[in-house]
């Protein structure tokens, strides 16, 4: 349905989107996840033909977006960030105007509008002025507009920002329902949202894709990287700390919420959680400190998200370091030879 190849979008000084490629199939709900300013909105803007790209190729529904922008626009329903609407119009007036603009013929226009209004549950405000509506209703009016022409692809930029918990739940349910019969792409910086709604997640940071997969897969990926066990010890001392640190398979140890709690990160490898727990117990008995509790913790998507993003910047930092290091070396011998 959507194929993006080596898409790059450069603004004056920064690469907002840096060489990303991905594919989205029919009836998928894909979530773009990333911190603010990661390039999510920019990517969506390129997909909706609102912005151009510096390089790369994007095909939507078999059409190249740079060659057949108008053809692409007809299959997309787009809800921009912050939901721009004409505040002076009434809801129905606005939808009528948009329906005409989207080329819905007069015969079907009323049906299309009624359907959209029913789907987004804005029947009770259809004759009210948009400027006087609450944020939740405005969001739904925007969504109703995106749905008007019954598009194959729905692109929603931060669809739940600024809504109260009830409205967020409503919008999520609506998105899920819509995803059954069309392709939905949404962006968000809220993890539980993406986890709850999307069938696939693409994590973007600094314009690059840093991870993607089903929410379950992403969790599994991280479990390969390391899991943690929180150990609570009575009368914690350096002996306990050092002992725990030396247990084979333990990568790192940190003091958690209280001084008596240690968080141990371990790599799965040959170990299992039970195995590690056993070793901890044995070590405690051997060195004579008492365990008050042990808990194996599966990481939430949020942890994965934070980890991937911090790793990414660490990696960038090391890369910078390596680069300067590499440059420094050849100059050194030269000076020595003098």
């Amino acid at each position: 349905m959507i194929k993006v190849e080596h898409l790059t979008k450069r603004y004056a000084a920064v690469d907002a989107v840096d060489d990303i490629s991905f594919e989205i199939g029919k009836h998928e709900i894909v979530g773009f996840l990333g911190p603010n300013g990661a390039g999510k909105s920019t990517t969506l803007k390129v997909l909706t033909c609102s912005h151009g790209a510096s390089s790369g190729k994007v095909t939507i529904d078999g059409k190249d977006i740079f060659e057949d922008a108008e053809g692409v626009k007809t299959v997309i329903g787009y809800l921009p960030e912050n939901v721009p609407l004409y505040p002076e119009l009434r809801v129905r007036e606005y939808l009528t105007y948009r329906a005409g603009l989207k080329g819905i013929s007069r015969a079907y226009r009323n049906d299309a509008i009624n359907k959209s209004i029913a789907r987004c549950r804005i029947k009770d405000v259809e004759h009210r002025i948009i400027g006087q509506l609450s944020k939740g209703y405005r969001q739904r009016v925007g969504l109703a507009d995106a749905l008007l022409a019954d598009p194959k692809i729905l692109i929603l930029d931060e669809p739940t920002v600024g809504l109260d918990p009830n409205q967020i739940r409503d919008v999520r349910e609506l998105i899920k329902a819509l995803g059954r019969e069309r392709t939905v792409i949404l962006s968000s910086h809220i993890l539980p949202e993406v986890e709850a709604v999307c069938s696939r997640v693409i994590i973007i940071n600094k314009g690059k894709i840093v991870g993607q997969g089903r929410p379950g897969e992403l969790r599994a990926q991280l479990q390969q990287r390391g899991q943690s066990i929180v150990v609570e010890v009575k009368d914690p001392n350096s002996v306990a700390f050092e002992t725990l640190k030396r247990i084979p398979g333990i990568e790192s140890i940190t003091v958690k919420n209280s001084p008596s709690q240690f968080q141990l990160i371990w790599t799965p490898g040959n170990n299992s959680a039970a195995n590690i727990c056993e070793q901890i117990f044995d070590a405690a008995v051997a060195r004579g400190f008492k365990l008050l509790g042990m808990q194996s913790i599966a990481q939430s998507l949020e942890d994965i998200f934070v980890e991937i993003i911090t790793q990414e910047s660490d990696a960038a930092a090391t890369a910078d370091f390596a680069a300067t290091d590499g440059q420094a070396r050849p100059t050194e011998p030269k000076e020595r030879s003098k």
């Binding site: 603004y11 105007y97 005409g100 603009l101």
Partner: protein, 244 residues
């Protein structure tokens, strides 16, 4: 059909804002004052310098109306959509940039035309009391429309350059004044380009139109500036895609 739909919305949009009523009110008032003054002046007994309708179209007050009110008509066309972000929903609808610009242009020009409608009363009043020569009246309106068609395009271009309506109006006013004032260089002796300035002297144009002289070169000039401005506006709109 789609385009007509868009023009209808753009035109209706004027009337959601108080600016439209202020513009129409101000122009009606200014024109009425002007007409009253002209009639009083001509009936004072001194030898008449021209016909009443001729003066209506070439007096300084005419330019006051055109140069001050036209920017107010065009200022919101793109600046407001940019400011509120609705330009994004508009440009992501399946309509071309050219059509968006044309719809806005045609609705602005229609509004400008409507702004002049109340003045049709004056020739009617004059015709009621005496016989008037309709030729110069018609050519006067033709000139007014031509200049409006040019300035509306310039105004839309300026509006597409900014997200602030006031700034849009000020730039438009400055550009219009520059177009208007550059014509006055025709009076500067010894300028090699004197005849060029004569060609673009809007004030001179309107004096001729008001006398019943229709010079097609002038209409071509207005049309050229209008087409260029519309083209440039489409480019500005397209450039937004590349620069964010």
């Amino acid at each position: 059909m789609n385009m007509l739909w868009q023009i209808r919305r753009e035109f209706a949009a004027f009337f959601y804002s108080p600016v439209a009523y202020v513009v129409i009110g101000a122009s009606a008032l200014l024109n009425a004052v002007m007409f009253y003054l002209i009639v009083r002046f001509l009936t004072a007994g001194a030898p008449a310098p021209g016909a009443p309708m001729e003066m209506l179209f070439s007096w300084v007050l005419f330019w006051l109306v055109v140069l001050i009110l036209t920017p107010l008509i065009t200022m919101r066309s793109f600046a407001e959509e940019k400011h509120s972000g609705t330009l994004e929903t508009l440009t992501t609808a399946p309509v071309s940039d050219t059509r968006i610009v044309l719809a806005k242009y045609i609705s602005c020009l229609s509004f400008y035309t409507i702004m002049w409608l109340p003045t049709l009363l004056y020739p009617a009043i004059l015709a009621f009391y005496s016989t008037i020569d309709m030729g110069p009246v018609l050519s006067g309106y033709l000139g007014t429309f031509g200049i409006g068609a040019m300035l509306a395009a310039v105004g839309i271009l300026c509006s597409a350059l900014t997200r602030n309506q006031i700034v849009a109006a000020l730039i438009t006013f400055a550009v219009m004044m520059a177009l208007f004032l550059s014509g006055l260089f025709r009076w500067v002796d010894g300028l090699s380009a004197q005849s060029f300035f004569e060609y673009i002297d809007l004030m001179g144009h309107m004096e001729d139109f008001a006398k019943g002289i229709v010079d097609t070169r002038r209409l071509v000039y207005y049309a050229s500036v209008a087409v260029f401005s519309i083209f440039a506006t489409v480019q500005v709109l397209g450039a937004r895609r590349w620069n964010g």
